[in-house]
Amino acid sequence: MGLLSFYSRNSAELLGLIWQHVYLVAVSTGAAILVGVPLGVALTRRAAWRAPVLGLANVFQTIPSLALFGFLIPVFGIGAWTAITALIVYALLPIIRNTYTGIAGVDPAVREAGRGMGMTDGELLRLVELPLAAGVILAGIRVATVVSVGVATIGAAIGAGGLGVYIFRGVATVDDTLIMAGALPAALLALGADAVLGFVERRLAWR
């Protein structure tokens, strides 16, 4: 059975799964940005938090994704919320780390001049540090998003839906076309997200 004829007979289901997939990635990455960027900023202000926070985020990154989904089932049950939580955990490290490195990489002379001129910490952050670090922060968000598109396929194993549904079904029935039916759009989604965020990154970076 060809891929195209499969798609033509199952187009409604395919669109539903793509939508679920995008939803999982968008909600989790959005939440990871809302948590990760402020946390990354906090690390530039509180040296003592740096090692524990980055260390913990690093540890989360090393947990195999299938295992992490499994660990979270007793907490959140089966379904999208467990998958979203796991995806947030994976997205946090690149976002926190890049926010921290981006701001820490701002020329110290620029910071000293700003403080010496009487900018408050908030003004310095808003007008100088965040704009100058924007490119690096966005690069972190981009990495997090692309990784998330891939990891989200595993969400199907715990009933979260998404394009992984075809992949797992194909593995179970030893059907290559079915595996490809899930893997191809997932890969295209990752490439698309990478291209869009790369464009935004180039527009927002001050150079």
């Binding site: 000293e112 001129m117 900018m119 704009p131």
Partner: protein
């Protein structure tokens, strides 16, 4: 008339107990330039940072235009003090105009007033406003950057100006050019100026008074002529360093 700056018994001790600045006192009137001269690590820069509270003094008192610095919010205090550093520290993502107009903008001046002030200051530091307002720092030479740095420090018309080796990173020819222009500017500005340098020629050229720092203390305070005649050992060492001696003949 109240002095632009009065420093009384200023001291700074590190938490570990090391004494970086000890019992430093001086007064700088409007139109006066006090040069803080000294070797690296003598406490010159630390003294500057104690004045605008980038560091908090552990002893003594600072008065800016008669007002106790310790009683002001640090950001409020710093907006009344122009600050210029060797690395300049222009904001790379701002145009020249936005760099210069930053403090007025934070102080919520109306846009036309900021634009007029930027124009006036660029002219003052010898840059053609029409050619420079829209440029970014990376499009400027080292000398032009420091001119913009000085203009930025003057933007909100502060009574006091602190300069930390502002010409130290420039090539020798540009440095002399800026030193000459700065000497002309000092009188016209009528501000109190504290100028940190380790270059004794620069100090003697630009200072109305010289404060020589050694080991965190003010070892000498007097006019350039008094400094030249001083027998204080560190002053003598600086004067002999300024004299290149006879040329070596082959």
């Amino acid at each position: 008339m109240t002095a632009a700056l009065e420093v009384r018994g200023l001291g700074y001790v590190l938490p570990a107990g090391r004494n970086l600045v000890e019992n430093v006192s001086f007064t700088v009137g409007a139109g006066e330039t006090l040069v803080l001269l000294g070797r690296s690590g003598s406490g010159k820069t630390t003294t500057l940072k104690l004045i605008n509270r980038l560091l908090e003094p552990t002893a003594g008192e600072v008065l800016v235009a008669g007002e106790r610095a310790a009683g002001l919010e640090p950001t409020r205090l710093r907006r009344r003090i122009g600050y210029v550093i060797q690395e300049v520290g222009l904001f790379p993502h701002f145009t020249v105009a936005r760099n210069i107009g930053l403090v007025p903008r934070l102080e919520r001046w109306p846009a036309e007033r900021i634009a007029a002030r930027v124009h006036e200051l660029l002219t003052l530091v010898g840059l053609d406003p029409a050619a420079f307002v829209a440029r970014y720092p990376e499009q400027l030479s080292g000398g032009q950057r420091q001119r913009v740095g000085v203009a930025r420090a003057l933007a909100a018309d502060p009574p006091l100006l602190l300069l930390d080796e502002p010409f130290g990173a420039l090539d020798p020819i540009t440095r002399v050019e800026l030193q000459r222009e700065f000497r002309g500017l000092e009188g016209r500005l009528g501000k109190g100026i504290v100028f940190v340098t380790h270059d004794v020629r620069e100090g003697l050229m630009l200072g109305t008074r010289i404060g020589l720092m050694q080991g965190g203390r003010l070892a000498f305070l007097g006019t350039p002529d008094e400094f030249r005649a001083s027998t204080q050992p560190e002053a003598v060492a600086f004067m002999s360093a300024a004299d290149p001696g006879p040329a070596v003949r082959g």
